[in-house]
Symmetry: C2
Subunit: 266 residues, 2 copies
């Protein structure tokens, strides 16, 4: 569903010829650069911050912000900052990739939330990152950094490792070669050890993580498979790391993932 | 939250001066016109359908589609049609308006789903329409046309009437003057009767509907109030119209709406 038509990498985006003032960038590509500045750091931003993040001239950003705000892609806050607007939310909610999978998965995620009573995630691969499609929380004992729409590194979480374990070589090798950033005390930073972990995840059909993304948070994750058996998403439960044994959670997480996989069959 | 910074009406959007080929339209405004064609009819579209909906020249649409697809705003399907892409979903999920309210409301919506076991909606006003922010379903006996991201007329549903009952005069009068389209056998099409219904909703603190939007579907809706007491959203439960008495559902719907209102307090 998702892995099949991946979003183009950011580096390929701004290649269409533009005008002389900012060579190599069309008006649209400049507007995309403004919007990109909101992608992975979703806070209110000033004109100056957007200018720095986009690499555009201040006057260009000024003009683009006026048009993007006029249409509703962005909103101006009371403090004169900019944030993503309701029009983009509405348009984005029509994306069959994000929405369709999420809608099919929701009942299973809710069941999983009910038996685990913590945090439940639905995650897909977006190029070399794990994109969080849904997050449900009950009364969690654990605080995690995930948020719907956020993209996080794949090597440092249960669902990320599930997605990486089933990603094509062309995705896995660059991730391993780029260096595995430490996010918490349990992050696997050694490529050889990560390779072994991914092989074991493929063999076992699930992934465990302990203090990999966030200190104090552990997770159990399992793959969701699309019609051709290809892994299209991962489902996970996050629990406090003081949970002595994660294995009792495995059957419920796998059941939820298998339920969604079945719902994806045509 | 939402009503305070409404999205500009569609008619105000394309006013910035552009080039000679399509006077009065900038490149960006033309890209917005392409994206607008996906707003309220979220299906895969052909190049020809987008051209007709946007009123642009076919060659212009061709160029815009290439750029929008390159960035990931749109995706090309296997059948050569276009649909909203994952990049827009991700960006839209950062909108604090849609997302913040939905995240705060979700636990209360889930509780309401559990006690009602049907369909639960979270709806906000977007100008003169009801915009569906969230829809949760259990094992519903009733089929409704709502979908997350969809905008429907306000006069023909429980949550729509709640939002209209608390909308400013500048919104209500044009809605009444524009004519109240019949959507099902119970739709209120007489402006005088709708005025009375809205006054009663303000007095009672909830709205009932029977066969107003969809034949066979009835609903109970209550207002969610923001920090200043202003109505910012409506929560509703939809049940089959064969349900003889809707009143027993009122307390649960009002409790959910009050819970969200409380969560919105600073």
């Amino acid at each position: 569903m998702m892995g099949g038509s991946p979003v183009p990498p950011r580096s390929r985006r701004h290649t269409i010829a533009g005008n002389a003032a900012e060579p190599g960038r069309t008006v649209l590509s400049r507007a995309f650069a403004v919007l990109d500045s909101f992608l992975d750091a979703p806070v209110d931003k000033t004109h100056g911050e957007i200018t720095r993040a986009s690499g555009l001239a201040p006057a260009t950003v000024h003009r683009l912000l006026a048009e993007l705000t006029g249409w509703g892609a962005l909103e101006r806050t009371a403090r004169g900052r900019y944030r993503v607007g309701l029009r983009l939310w509405q348009l984005g909610s029509q994306a069959p990739g994000g929405r369709g999978l999420r809608d099919l998965a929701l009942p299973f995620l809710q069941d999983l939330l009910q038996v685990s009573n913590e945090v439940v995630h639905l995650v897909v691969r977006d190029q070399d990152r794990a994109l969080y499609l849904e997050k449900l929380e009950a009364h969690p004992d654990v605080v995690v950094t995930s948020r719907v729409g956020l993209r996080l590194p794949m090597h440092a979480s249960g669902p990320g490792k599930v997605l990486l374990a089933h990603a094509p070589r062309g995705v896995v090798e660059p991730v391993l070669a780029a260096g595995l950033e430490r996010r918490a005390s349990g992050t696997i930073t050694d490529p050889a050890r990560l390779r072994e972990a991914l092989a074991e995840i493929r063999r076992q059909g699930f992934a465990l993580s302990r203090d990999e993304m966030t200190e104090g948070a552990s997770s159990v994750a399992a793959p969701v498979r699309g019609p051709a058996g290809r892994v299209v998403a991962a489902i996970s439960v996050v629990v406090p790391s003081r949970t002595p044994n994660l294995l009792p959670l495995v059957p419920a997480v796998r059941m939820a993932a298998m339920g969604v996989s079945r719902a994806l069959q045509p």
